[in-house]
Amino acid sequence: MFKRKLTYKDFKQYFSNNLPKKDKHAFEKNIMQDAFEEEAFDGLSKLSENELEQDIIDLKSTINQKTNKPRRIIPVWYRYAASVIILVGVGLSIFFLNSRFWQNSMLKEQVSEEMEIMDSMLLDAEIEFEKVDARSRTDTSEKMPTELIADNREIEPKEEIIGAVDNIEIEDEIILDNSEVYTEEVVESDNENALNEFEEEELSLNEQEIIFEDIAEGEKVSLAMQGKNAEVTSQKSSQPLSAQSKKRLYENPEETAFANDKPDESEILKSEAKPSSPIEKANLEKYINEKLDHSKLTDFPGNHTIKFSFAVETSGELSNFNFTQSPGMAFNNEIIRVITEAGNWIPATDKNQSINSTVEFTLEIEVLEQ
């Protein structure tokens, strides 16, 4: 017996209960021979005729919609290719992000290093500048106290300074300039020669101090000049007491700290303090030696170097005598007497205005034994 193929129509008729019993039996016997139909019959038996019909219509409509819509069949390998592309893209993104991260980090390190180098360079430059600035200030010798440098700052009193006057007010700070040099002047003094050859030259200085050194005999005559365009002259004077001041001035631009070749034209507005006439600053030492009462100095035979300074106020009055190097009070008192008896000085000026200033002086006196 060959089984007749059952269609949906047969199922529909069976469930409509319109089939004769014989046809029903035939249908039922038929579906037993096909497992697919038999199981489908079991499931479809749960529905009524109307439900079955409606559901089948809906299903066929759904299938028709699927078949009518243009469906793009994607080959299987497309999926694998898409997966590979996505993975490669993600990997490249991570790679570039990391490389940029490292580039940024390296760049930051490089920038920080350069910044450190720049900072160190700036720091060095500042140090150098400070050194130059400090070097540009007056520095006569190791023994010269910094308090004696003429400036407008208040000078704090120190006990070790003899005759120091406190609180010297200086209006302006006068800075000696290295641009000026003073001509070399060498004066040799000889006990046997009465005549001393020396040259007076006007030294225009921008620094506060000028150091003159006697190279040959090791004697130094230092004269700290206040203000710019200070005149330094050396003069040897003969003394009846055979107290001679030996002085050798020479100018060595290399050794002096404030060598200048030319007077600075910009310093015309400034002038240094100087004694009133008839005493000239160049002859100050000679004048002092002449006026000293050597009888009061007999207790100190020999050669002596006296370093002292005094302030010249705007009024020209002298004050604040400080002796940084002196054999004794006798010398101090005599020098003070001589200088003050000479009268007031002409004060230093800056921009044509009188200013307080300090004069530093180094005097060499030879006291012979009697």
């Binding site: 019993k21 249908f27 697919f36």
Partner: protein, 197 residues
């Protein structure tokens, strides 16, 4: 004869449609082929999933599966292959539902017991004249199975008639008939093997 001709014709038509779809990929051809058996697919889904909406969704998804799977295989009998695809899909859906685990076990047992496309000897006998062996085996069946077998195959009554007469549900009638057929087959096999020996 007419049945053979119609069967061959339908099978030829299905074969041609299948070949056309495999060669062209035209979904309309596949849709036409699928609509021939859509009621069977829906019925099987209803049996396993026991839900109309879910069964309708399953029918749509099975169609989409066919679009992908058909080009991969050389299918000789599309109906049988469709049946296997449908049943496997339904079983997979049931596995997803952990709460219906018991339901799955029931259906697996029934499938194991009832799945057979081989004609039962009793189905091959178009006439009411039973062989002596078959008659003896029927007598060995349980009462319910015996009555259903005789009424269905010899009295040519439908499920409804048997149900009305025995006052049992139609589903039980069908079950008794199926179980009876299985037992008859076993009995006949034993009998045949005993004769040969």
């Amino acid at each position: 004869m007419e049945d053979i001709f119609s069967k061959n014709k339908s099978e030829k038509e299905e074969s041609e449609l299948l070949q056309q779809f495999q060669s062209t990929g035209n979904l309309e051809i596949l849709g036409e082929l699928y609509n021939i058996y859509i009621h069977l697919v829906y019925g099987v889904c209803l049996k396993y999933l026991n839900n109309r909406d879910e069964s309708k969704d399953a029918v749509s998804k099975i169609f989409e599966i066919l679009i992908i799977e058909i080009p991969k295989f050389e299918i000789q009998n599309f109906k049988s292959w469709l049946y296997v695809v449908t049943k496997n899909y339904c079983l997979m859906e049931i596995r997803k539902k952990k709460t219906e685990k018991k339901h799955l076990q029931v259906y697996t047992e029934e499938i194991f017991m009832e799945s057979s496309e081989i004609l039962h000897p009793i189905d091959e006998v178009p006439e009411s004249n039973l062989a002596e062996e078959l008659k003896n085996c029927i007598e060995k069946l349980k009462q319910e199975q015996q009555e259903c077998i005789i009424m269905f195959y010899y009295d040519k009554k439908c499920y409804k008639e048997i149900s009305d007469k025995l006052k049992i549900e139609q589903s039980k009638v069908k079950s008794y008939i199926q179980n009876g057929k299985r037992n008859l087959k076993i009995c006949l096999e034993l009998t045949t093997s005993g004769i040969e020996n």
